[in-house]
């Protein structure tokens, strides 16, 4: 089925998802420039190293529109689902791309996080129309303001004001300096990177109004190039200054502090999951409630491409860092199965909802140590949880049942025992066997039970 155009703001062309294919149309007047770029050594080397999306020309004729097909990134993600480290890595990729464009007489015409997706833990630049031939005498970068608004200011707001990066969901074009300025302390306003990117632009706008007198300067080409490079160097410095120091959270230290798990239980659980992964050999695994990614890494080591959801920023950041270090194909996202990311943008069609992206995309879904949170904190009925797992997987599921006697279950129950008295293993099986057949059952000595489930049809 063909979706409405997923992108349409760029006058050079648009992108649409057609069944499983990602197709881009480039308008005739921009086709030659696009082909020039795709044929350049820079584009080829970026594609070869996986930093630029692989692109195939479907049809090209002089004076006609150009049709391109991109390699589909397995699980599209959006900045509001990224950890701080993923933001920094997407920003660095954008600046690297912008800098290298300069040496071939080109420039990035837009610089937003939406140009970047993640393939596993690795950022990929996906908008091949973001580049255009540079006017060699123009020292100004028209996308400079957009880079600051959409990358730097959300990171600055996160670091200095504690504003969640997920709030970028409601800010397609990022923050303006006036959004941050009133909330920053006098001292912070003078911090060099804040002064350059918030205080000074705010004061300039206040003095000159927001009437845009955007102009072009004309300079000798070598001077213009020097100015472009110098600007990118300054942006890198600001990015470094806005990189947040990640602390621990309750959940990021949970695997070490989980006293309800003895080392025997932990080892048995690990062995059971490992055996399942090497038996089922899934290609795509969804780890819901992944925490710091212990089991995501097991799945990736068994050969799967893993998407790992967790609502905790610090835990997901740890997962992402570990995936980068071990070079495992894991995409950690800050996502809550009970409050999934909605579809956004014009006609709710510019970005897809988390559930739409996940439905039927995985051959194994893991839900370990999460079900009691969904039942008691989010108050989701058991049948609904089973239905959701069934929607995500095409074949297998591994679910950890947490009984009412479990210390964590009791913590979350908070005296509402009678309300949840009906939640037992039989109720669990009644709901899950609507969709799955239990293949293996592994009780642990702490009372928890691991189920390996096969989809009924």
């Amino acid at each position: 089925m063909s979706s409405p155009a997923a992108t349409f703001r760029d006058p050079a062309g648009s992108l649409r998802i057609d069944d499983d294919r990602v197709l881009r149309t480039v308008h005739p007047e921009y086709a030659e420039d696009c082909l020039n770029f795709l044929g350049s050594e820079l584009a080829q080397s970026w594609i070869a190293t996986g930093r630029l999306v692989e692109t195939r020309v479907l049809s090209s004729a002089p004076g006609e529109q150009l049709e391109l097909e991109h390699q589909r990134v397995f699980f599209p993600s959006y900045p509001w689902e990224w950890t701080p480290g993923q933001w920094i890595s997407a920003a660095e990729l954008t600046l690297d791309f912008a800098e290298q464009q300069l040496s071939i007489g080109r420039v990035l015409k837009d610089a937003t996080p939406l140009n970047v997706l993640f393939e596993g833990s690795r950022p990929v630049f996906v908008d091949v129309l973001s580049t255009e031939a540079r006017e060699l005498e123009n020292p100004l970068w028209m996308a400079y303001g957009q880079f600051v608004r959409t990358f730097l200011l959300p990171l600055a707001a996160y670091k200095y004001l504690g504003w969640s990066l997920a709030a970028s969901l409601s800010r397609r074009d990022g923050y303006e300096p006036r959004d941050l300025y009133p909330y920053l302390s006098a001292w912070t306003r003078l911090h060099p990177a804040i002064f350059s990117h918030v205080t000074l632009p705010f004061l300039l706008e206040k003095k000159n109004g927001t009437n845009n007198s955007a102009g072009k300067l004309k300079q000798r080409p070598d001077v213009a190039l020097y100015m472009h490079r110098r600007r990118i160097k300054h942006l890198r410095r600001a990015l470094h200054a806005f990189t947040p120091k990640m602390g621990d959270s309750k959940w990021s230290t949970y695997p070490e502090s989980a006293s309800h798990y003895s080392s025997t239980d932990r080892n048995e659980k690990r062995e059971f999951i490992e055996r399942i992964l090497y038996t089922a050999r899934p290609a795509h695994v969804l780890d819901i409630g992944a925490n710091t990614g212990d089991y995501s890494r097991l799945a990736a080591q068994a050969g799967a491409n893993v998407v790992a959801w967790d609502a905790d920023v610090a835990a997901s950041e740890q997962n992402w860092r570990a995936a980068c270090e071990s070079r495992l194909p894991i995409l950690p996202l800050i996502a809550d199965a009970a409050r999934p990311t909605p579809a956004l943008g014009w006609q709710n069609a510019e970005t897809s909802s988390l559930l739409d992206r996940a439905r039927g995309r995985f051959d194994l879904v893991m839900m370990l140590g999460l079900i009691h949170h969904l039942l008691l904190i989010d108050q989701i009925p058991m049948a609904e949880i089973a239905r959701l797992v069934n929607e995500f997987t095409t074949r297998w599921a591994v679910v950890e049942w947490v009984p009412a006697t479990d210390v964590r279950f009791r913590d979350l129950c908070r005296g509402r025992d009678s309300l949840y008295a009906h939640l037992d293993e039989r109720a669990f099986l009644r709901s899950f066997t609507q969709y799955f057949e239990p293949v293996a059952r592994k009780p642990l000595s702490n009372g928890r039970v691991l189920f390996f489930l096969l989809r009924n049809h």
């Binding site: 955007a214 300067l217 070598d222």
Partner: protein, 81 residues
């Protein structure tokens, strides 16, 4: 102070002023589909003035203190790196 040094310094100062004047000269409006942001655009213009002045200043200083071995283009290339 030798007359030669005086004239070179004057030449350098005039050069910097000339650059600032050239840098300030606006051309036609730009048409970008992303919002360049008025504050950021002004900031870029001011930043470009400084960067342009630094570029020329370094270039002139290098020429001033060079012993005639380096050509102008070599100097510019090394600045770009």
């Amino acid at each position: 102070m030798s007359a030669r040094f005086f004239f070179r310094t004057m030449w350098l100062a005039l050069g910097v002023l000339q650059i600032a004047a050239v840098v300030c000269a606006f051309e036609r409006p730009a048409h970008a589909y992303v919002d360049p942001g008025s504050g950021y655009m002004l900031l870029q213009v001011i930043g470009s003035m400084f960067a342009g002045a630094i570029f020329y200043l370094r270039h002139r200083l290098r020429r001033l203190f060079a012993f005639g071995a380096q050509s102008s283009s070599e100097t510019e290339t090394s600045i770009d790196k």
